[in-house]
C-alpha cells in the first residue's frame, strides 16, 4: 500500500481534513411515512427499498470518483450464503435483518475495495492485489473515518425507521469486513416492522411487483370477460382459534369465546380473501373500506 507506514500524524490529520472538505455525500431529509395508516404495506415496502437504495446511492456516489464500484442491496442474509458473497468480492453489500424493535443492521464491505480506498487516500493508485493484510494504525484511522461517514449516512437514511448506535462491533474476515450497527425501531415504524417478512419482499421483488405496478387496465379487461360470474360474499363477524382437541369436544350448548372484535365490524370475504371491511347497522352492511392486503392471500 502506497506510503502507508511513513505518513506522520500531522500529515494524516491534514489528509483527513481534506477528506472532510471533499465529503460529497448528499443528505436527503425526505421523511417516509411508516404509520400503519393510510399507506398500504406495498407502499411501505417501496419506501423501505427507496431508503435502502438511497443509502446505497449515497455510498456509491462517495466512492464513484475513487473507484468504479457499485453498492448492492441484499435483503437476504449473506452469512447464510457466504460463498456467493466471496464470488462478488469487489462489491459492497448491505444487509439488514429486522424482526424485533431492537435489532441490528449489518454492512459487509469487501476487503479488496476498502484496501483500494485506503490506498487512494494515501496517494496510491488504488490498485491492490491482496486482501488479507493487517492494517497499520494509519490505515485503520482512514478506515474509521470512512466508517464514520457510513454511520452518519446510514443514520440519516434510516431515521424514519430506526435510530442506530455507533458501531463498535467490527469483524475483519478474510475477504470482507462486517460492521454491525445496533438499531432501535422508532414508534411510527413499529407496526410495520412487526409485519416485516423477507420472503414476501423477495417474492415481490422477483415478481417485479414493487417497481412495476399492477396493470389495472389489463385486470379490468379480464374481469369484464367474467362479468356474468356470480361470487359468494361471506360476511364474517367474529373469529378465533380453536385446537382440534377442543373442537372435537364441542357439543350443543358449548360456548366458545371469540376475539375482541366489536360485533358490528364485519369483514367481507370471497373465498379466503378479504375484499372489504364493513360495519353492520341493524340489517344493513355498510362498506367502509376496500381491504388493502389482498395480495397476501
Amino acid at each position: 500500500m502506497a506510503n502507508s507506514d511513513i505518513v506522520s500524524q500531522d500529515e494524516l490529520n491534514a489528509l483527513l481534513n481534506i477528506l472532510n472538505e471533499d465529503n460529497n455525500l448528499v443528505s436527503e431529509n425526505k421523511s417516509y411515512e411508516f404509520d400503519s395508516k393510510p399507506q398500504s404495506r406495498i407502499e411501505k415496502f417501496k419506501d423501505l427499498i427507496k431508503i435502502s437504495n438511497n443509502f446505497a446511492t449515497k455510498l456509491t456516489t462517495t466512492i464513484k470518483d475513487k473507484l468504479d464500484k457499485k453498492i448492492e442491496i441484499s435483503f437476504n442474509s449473506i452469512l447464510e450464503n457466504e460463498n456467493s458473497y466471496q464470488q462478488d468480492k469487489d462489491i459492497f453489500k448491505f444487509n439488514f435483518e429486522i424482526n424485533s424493535f431492537q435489532t441490528d443492521i449489518k454492512i459487509f464491505l469487501s476487503r479488496m475495495t476498502i484496501n483500494s480506498i485506503i490506498d487512494l487516500y494515501l496517494g496510491g493508485e488504488g490498485i491492490v492485489d491482496y486482501q488479507n493484510q493487517k492494517y497499520s494504525k494509519i490505515e485503520l484511522k482512514i478506515f474509521n473515518h470512512f466508517l464514520e461517514d457510513i454511520s452518519s449516512e446510514l443514520n440519516l437514511s434510516w431515521k424514519s425507521i430506526a435510530k442506530m448506535e455507533k458501531s463498535n462491533n467490527i469483524t475483519f474476515n478474510k475477504k470482507f469486513i462486517e460492521i454491525k450497527f445496533d438499531i432501535f425501531i422508532v414508534n411510527q415504524a413499529k407496526t410495520f416492522i412487526l409485519q416485516f417478512n423477507y420472503d414476501e419482499i423477495d417474492y415481490l421483488l422477483l415478481k417485479n411487483q414493487i417497481d412495476e405496478p399492477l396493470n389495472l387496465d389489463k385486470i379490468e379487461k379480464s374481469l369484464k370477460k367474467f362479468n356474468f360470474l356470480d361470487l359468494e360474499m361471506n360476511f364474517i363477524a367474529l373469529n378465533n382459534f380453536i385446537s382440534l382437541e377442543n373442537f372435537n369436544s364441542l357439543e350443543i350448548g358449548s360456548q366458545i369465546k371469540m376475539n375482541n372484535y366489536k360485533k358490528d365490524k364485519i369483514d367481507i370475504h370471497i373465498g379466503q380473501t378479504k375484499i372489504f371491511m364493513a360495519k353492520k347497522v341493524d340489517k344493513k352492511i355498510v362498506i367502509k373500506k376496500i381491504a388493502e392486503e389482498n395480495y397476501e392471500s
Partner: protein, 84 residues
C-alpha cells in the same frame, strides 16, 4: 397413525370464523362497490349464524354478549357422517 403425530395434530389450532350472512354477487356488480354502499342482510338478529372452519360450515350457533365479550353458543353441530 403414529401416536406422536396424532397427539401433535390434536393440538393444531384451527381458525374459527362466524358468518352472519352471505350474498351472491356478479363480478360486474362487485367491481362497482364503493365506500358507503349498503348491502342488506337477509338474516334476522335472532337467526342462527354459521360457524366456519376454512370455507366449511361445521356448526351453527348464537352470538352471545357477556360483559363486553362475545361468545358463540353451539346450537347445531354438523354431523360429518351425514356427508358420507
Amino acid at each position: 397413525m403414529n401416536h406422536n403425530l396424532l397427539t401433535s395434530l390434536n393440538n393444531i389450532n384451527l381458525e374459527l370464523k362466524i358468518r352472519i350472512g352471505s350474498k351472491k354477487i356478479s363480478i360486474k356488480n362487485l367491481s362497482k362497490i364503493k365506500e358507503g354502499d349498503v348491502i342488506i342482510l337477509e338474516k334476522d338478529e335472532d337467526d342462527l349464524v354459521d360457524i366456519l372452519i376454512g370455507d366449511e360450515m361445521v356448526a351453527r350457533g348464537k352470538i352471545i354478549e357477556k360483559d363486553n365479550e362475545f361468545f358463540i353458543e353451539i346450537r347445531e353441530l354438523k354431523n360429518s357422517q351425514e356427508e358420507y
